[in-house]
Amino acid sequence: MKKLWFLFFFLGLIISCKKPYLPPVIAAPGSFLVVEGVINNGSDSTIIKLSKTVNLSSTTTTNPILKAIVTVEDNQNNAYALTETAHGKYVSAGLNLNNTLQYRLRIKTADNKEYLSDYVTVLDSPPIDTINYDIQSNGINLYSGTHDPSNKVKYFRFDYTETWIFHSKYFSQFKSNGDTVLGRDLVNDNIYQCWQNDTSSTIVLASSAKLSQNVLVNNPITSVSSTSEKLEAKYSIMVRQYALSADAYIFWSNIKKNTEQLGSIFDAQPSQLNGNIHCLTNPQEAVIGYLSVGSVSSKRIFIDNRILPAWVPNTPYNMCIDTPLFYKYSEGIQKTIVNQIDLFINYNKPGPHFDVLIPIDGIFVPGAGTPIGFTAAEPACVDCTIRGSNKQPAFWK
């Protein structure tokens, strides 16, 4: 539809005008509570994130709510308090709830507004049976499978964390301590191989409602492109599966569709979300979020690059150059001798230090034991800890 606009724009030059459209509701919108999280009925911790919506014109999205009082209540007058940690997260260690009771969440914010969710029945997620993948020409597709013999759970939501090994462009065997270049501790100070992780940013939903049995087979979770760096060496994904009620499923599918596109009058009509949390102080105030109670099941798999086709990853290293630098470098017509190592690598030494470069390899005169210089490159090309962690995660194998 966008192209059609151009027609109007050109006509517009003579007869039309485009002006900011800022109705009062957008200029000064109410600020709405956003509640995200699942009450975990088992031994795992429960994390509830509270935040507020921000204006469309705001450059940041996060607006955590601090100093709120958050409690989980059951329908037999028991209450469990959650404690505030950083960034609007309210946490409780394993609650070990009684699955036959119903639970709700009560939130009292610092500005004395009170919110309460509907009572929610505990819905445990059945275990994930499989996480499998298939190899396509353009990448891999990942699937999950589960079954629920109790026939209680028909709707599912998934999120996942991907972790993968990646490498920097150059394998640095030297390191500057600021004053001088030394050999690198390749075990504890390895900056060539790192682990990076990412969490899902799309909402993944599934339903077995049309089936006579509650079985999910080859349920698509995500896909990884063949050119992704994620598949460069070894890739792992942990999929978490949440059980949803039918209402919760509708809520999540709404939020999924609503946020695929921005609303113009040429776009599909969005619709407002109706969660199960309400404001007691002002019943008209919208609250975003759907509270579920239940266990979360998860499963992890590893995919080694060696079993994949010989795909070439797209790395952010296109601009990387390794530059030879010398202790004694004769510069210009006057043949002034400069110490390039101090200038570019030893960052404590006086010098312009346009860029602190990281030494990679030594440059040796044949037969000599000490290097006359080093090849070096920008940290982004050498130091993988800029984008990830060089500590192997505990689960890695």
Partner: protein, 922 residues
């Protein structure tokens, strides 16, 4: 000089009579059977000393059947001329027979008492009145004052009723006049001509005066004596000086008298008075000024009638369905104002012969070609020009009319800065009409229509769309009571978008809809109380919902073709117009709709009671070509009634039900050239609507002031709305992205119209609401929690003023003012972080409104001189569109730039736009 002689003659004549007036009392006997006047006169003269004077021409149609024995001449003549317009005067033994006027054998009262000079004066006055009037009336006397005798003439009129039928035509062009009304004051009955100018009326035998009114025609009357069933063709004069007269209704009394409700008729001359952008008369813009009709938006041609969506209007051009009635993205209507004769919009009492749309039927009738002489017209505007020619192929039998329009807007585009310079846009349309009269009972009509739109933006993406249609109609009169119209035709609408800018991505996207129509409509005049309409019609649809293909050898685009859809929509109808009494008229009809969705097709089956989502597809079924996949049978009821409280005040009420089987899938509210039509199938139910309406109609000041108030309430079932984030184009499973909503609409419409005088025009105000709801949890997401929400086109208040003030026959000004509430919009109002991403928080659906719409247009019309006989007639239209320069929202939209979401309001025609147009008629 001649007058003088005549006066002298009369003078002598009266003197003579005055000198020896006495009655001759001789008794006469005779027996005449179907005698001509000559036989009768000879018979009487031979038996008496009387001598008869008469004009044999005036008496050529008289037949006298008479048997008398010894009666005085007066008695014989009384009997012979009873119930005729013939008169006699006896002076001594001289008998003067006259037609229409009686000769007085006495001198005018006081004649002999006056002086000689006074005598002369009086003489002049008395006699001059007689001759003067005769002279004056001569041009029209041949028509208006002639007594037409219908049927087999007898001097005695049998009691009972007979049927009169015939055509009403334009005397100049021979063209049929549609919707002309015949009103018989003596019986308070009336009838309007049909689309062929044909009428049939049942009247008591005897003498009547027919008052005839036609759009753009001079009001006239005909005197008839109805002896038995017969025919009368009436030719009407064009109203030459009526160029500036706003006439809305075919009949000044139709407002009150017709049983139809919610019907608006407009002829082209009133359409042409409404100022339009770029000065080109726009058929559809005028429709928007009528009560109950609102515009979808600025510079769009889509319109909403009584809470219906833009696709719920059936637009018929001489029987051909037009799917996209707009050129140039809605800046111009796709109808050539030089060819269009009139338009009729049915928004409440939809005749039972039409079906398949929920809201309204807009019938656009093109003119027939001039059957007598070759004529033409041309118009030149800033962006468009048009030309039409018409004339006889065989004089009085066969005629043609050809109209064409084209645009040359590219020059305007080339004036633009570099970024837009390489754009191009053009459109054209061609209308052809051929009508042929085979004989008195058979006529055939062939109409063709072709419209093309093309535009290419700088982006190298070329858009094009076109409407094509061809209709052949055969009208056959079986007899005076029964006639039929059989027609067949094909309509095609297609669009195409292609881009070759990037050879790798070069694509061609196409959509088309082909329909083949057949209809047979019959009208049977059962009696003077019943007129029966019945018939059958069918439409075979072939829709290619979308095909996306690579173009060029380098293109890597993967072809994507949505399987074509086929369906057959048929209707069988029967309707009766029943005049219960002179006060109460009822139109009642039923229509049986049968809709078959046909193969070849693969249809997905969804689990019962679950939303139609990809996850709920169980399996799919393949159907062979022509196999019936799904049949919907649904009857429609159409009832309307009129009760006349008095001559200029009536109450009308109506109830109707309608079904719709073809749906426009559009994420805009208007009809845009990237929208697709979807046929009802196993998963998408037909839309259903029913409406009850009530109205009060009042005429005042000799029918020059018309007032009406109408209220309606409408229920809508299974109207298609869209799920959040619906994808409509190239969607293999459209049913997964749409939802059936239930709706209600209600409103009140007020209209005050002045049809005559220097100032004429109309004011309308409409209050209307339209709400939809989706509260079926099995259908998927609830919209606004299942509560009613305003439809996209819900505009509670709409006000229109259209006025024309005539300074003189040559100069007039028009002013057009429109106001309406802004349409609803769902706004993004905040954003937040959830589920791993930034999300946008929307208001309730359609909770907010864009700013109100207001526009006023002004134009000055200058006519050339009004001599009828000149080579060309010229006129100028100069005006300003959007006089106040208000920046109405054409659209509001939101874009994200570096993490910030900003809203914009786009206005087009945001400042006063002057225009000028030159028209020429030859």
């Amino acid at each position: 000089m001649r007058k003088f002689y005549l006066l002298c003659f009369c003078y002598l004549f009266f003197m003579q009579m005055a000198s020896g007036q006495q009655t001759n009392n001789k008794l006469i006997s005779g027996n005449f059977q179907q005698a001509t006047i000559a036989q009768f006169v000879n018979g009487v003269e031979s038996k008496s000393s009387y001598h008869f004077y008469y004009d044999s021409k005036s008496f050529d149609s008289l037949r006298i059947t008479l048997q008398v024995n010894d009666k005085p001449l007066e008695t014989i003549l009384d009997m012979a001329f009873k119930n005729t317009e013939y008169h006699y005067a006896i002076s001594q033994n001289l008998v003067f027979l006259t037609k229409g006027r009686q000769i007085k054998t006495d001198l005018a009262e006081g004649y002999l008492e006056t002086t000689t000079t006074a005598v002369a004066a009086n003489q002049t006055t008395t006699v001059a009145d007689y001759t003067d009037e005769r002279d004056k009336k001569v041009p029209e006397a041949t028509t208006e004052n002639k007594l037409y005798e219908i049927g087999i003439k007898t001097n005695e009129i049998k009691p009972g009723s007979s049927r009169l039928s015939g055509y009403i035509r334009n005397i100049k062009s021979g063209e049929a006049i549609v919707g002309a009304s015949i009103y018989v004051a003596s019986t308070k009955t009336g009838i309007a001509t049909d689309q062929f100018g044909y009428f049939t009326i049942i009247l008591p035998r005897g003498r009547h005066v027919l008052n005839i009114r036609g759009l753009g025609m001079r009001d006239t009357r005909r005197q008839i004596i109805l002896y038995s069933d017969g025919r009368l063709n009436i030719e009407l004069q064009e109203q030459v000086n009526s160029l500036k007269e706003v006439k809305i209704s075919a009949d000044k009394v139709a407002n009150v008298r017709s049983a139809e409700m919610g019907v608006s008729r407009l002829n082209i001359s009133s359409i042409k008075q409404i100022p339009a952008a770029f000065g080109e008369a726009d058929v559809l813009k005028v429709v928007l000024t009528l009560p109950g009709v609102t515009s979808v938006g600025e510079a769009t041609t889509g319109f909403n009638v009584r809470g219906g969506a833009a696709d719920e209007n059936l637009i018929l051009l001489d029987g051909a369905t037009i799917y996209n009635p707009a050129h140039f993205f809605g800046f111009f209507a796709a109808f050539n104002p030089d060819i269009v004769k009139n338009i009729e919009l049915y928004k409440s009492s939809i005749p039972e012969k039409y079906g398949g749309r929920l809201s309204s039927v807009l019938e656009i009738t093109n003119r027939e070609g001039n059957k007598k002489i070759f004529t033409g017209s041309a118009g030149i505007g800033l962006l468009t020009s048009r030309l039409n020619i018409e004339g006889p192929i065989v004089k009085d039998k066969t005629s043609f009319i050809l109209g064409a329009r084209t645009t040359y807007s590219d020059w305007l585009l080339h004036l633009l800065p570099e970024a837009y310079k390489h754009s191009s846009a053009s459109f054209n349309d061609v209308n052809l009409g051929i009508s042929h009269q085979i004989n008195d009972k058979n006529n055939i009509y062939l109409t063709g229509y072709l419209s093309n739109d093309k535009f290419k933006l700088n982006s190298d993406t070329a858009y094009s769309y076109s409407n094509k249609s061809l209709v052949l109609k055969w009208k056959h009169n079986f007899n005076n009571k029964l006639y039929s119209v059989i027609s067949g035709g094909i309509d095609k609408y297609q669009y195409d978008i292609n881009s070759t800018a990037n050879p790798v991505n070069a694509f061609d996207l196409g959509f088309n809809i082909n329909q083949t129509n057949f209809r047979a409509d019959f009208t049977y005049y059962l009696s003077n109380k019943h007129t029966i309409d019945f018939g059958v019609n069918s439409i075979l649809y072939n829709v290619n919902p979308g095909k996306f293909e690579p173009t060029g050898a380098q293109s890597l685009v993967l072809p994507q073709v949505i399987a074509p859809e086929h369906a057959l929509e048929s209707g069988l109808y029967l309707g009766d117009k029943y005049d219960v009494s002179s006060k109460l008229t009822i139109n009642a009809g039923v229509r049986l709709n049968v809709y078959n969705y046909l193969g070849a097709q693969v249809v997905d089956n969804y689990a019962p009671n679950l939303p139609r989502e990809p996850v709920n597809v169980i399996d799919s079924t393949s159907y062979k070509s022509g196999q019936i996949i799904k049949t919907y049978i649904s009857p429609d009821i159409r009832i309307s009634a009129r009760y006349l409280l008095n001559d200029d005040l009536s109450l009308k009420a109506g109830y109707n039900t309608l079904h719709q089987y073809i749906h426009l899938l559009s994420n805009t509210t208007s009809i845009s050239p990237t929208d697709v039509y979807k046929l009802s199938d196993s998963n998408i139910k037909p839309e259903h609507g029913d409406q009850v309406s009530l109205g009060i109609f009042k005429n005042a000041k000799q029918n020059t002031l018309e007032m009406s108030v109408e209220v309606y309430y409408k229920r809508i079932r299974d109207y298609l709305d869209y799920k959040s984030g619906a994808v409509l184009l190239l969607n293999q499973h459209v049913e997964q992205d749409v939802i059936n909503t239930q709706g209600k609409a209600y409103g009140a419409e007020f209209l005050l119209k002045k049809t005559a005088g220097k100032l004429n025009g109309w004011v309308s105000y409409t209050y209307s609401r339209t709400f939809l709801k989706q509260d079926d949890p099995n259908a998927g997401e609830l919209i606004n929690g299942g509560a009613y929400y305003p439809a996209n086109y819900d505009k509670p208040n709409a006000f229109n003023f259209t006025g024309n003030y005539k300074f003189s026959h040559r100069y007039s000004v028009s002013l057009d003012v429109a106001y309406s509430t802004g349409r609803p919009i769902t706004l993004p109002i905040a954003k937040y972080y959830y589920g791993g991403s930034e999300r946008v928080f929307y208001s309730d659906r359609n909770q907010y409104r864009i700013p109100d719409y207001f526009r006023s247009d002004f134009s000055l019309n200058i006519e050339g001189n009004h001599r009828i006989h000149q080579l060309t007639h010229n006129s100028w239209t100069i005006g300003v569109y959007n006089l106040t320069g208000r920046q109405n929202a054409y659209s509001t939209f939101f874009t994200e730039q570096s993490g910030v979401i900003s809203g914009y309001k786009l206005s087009i025609f945001a400042s006063p736009i002057p225009f000028i147009n030159y028209n020429i008629r030859f």
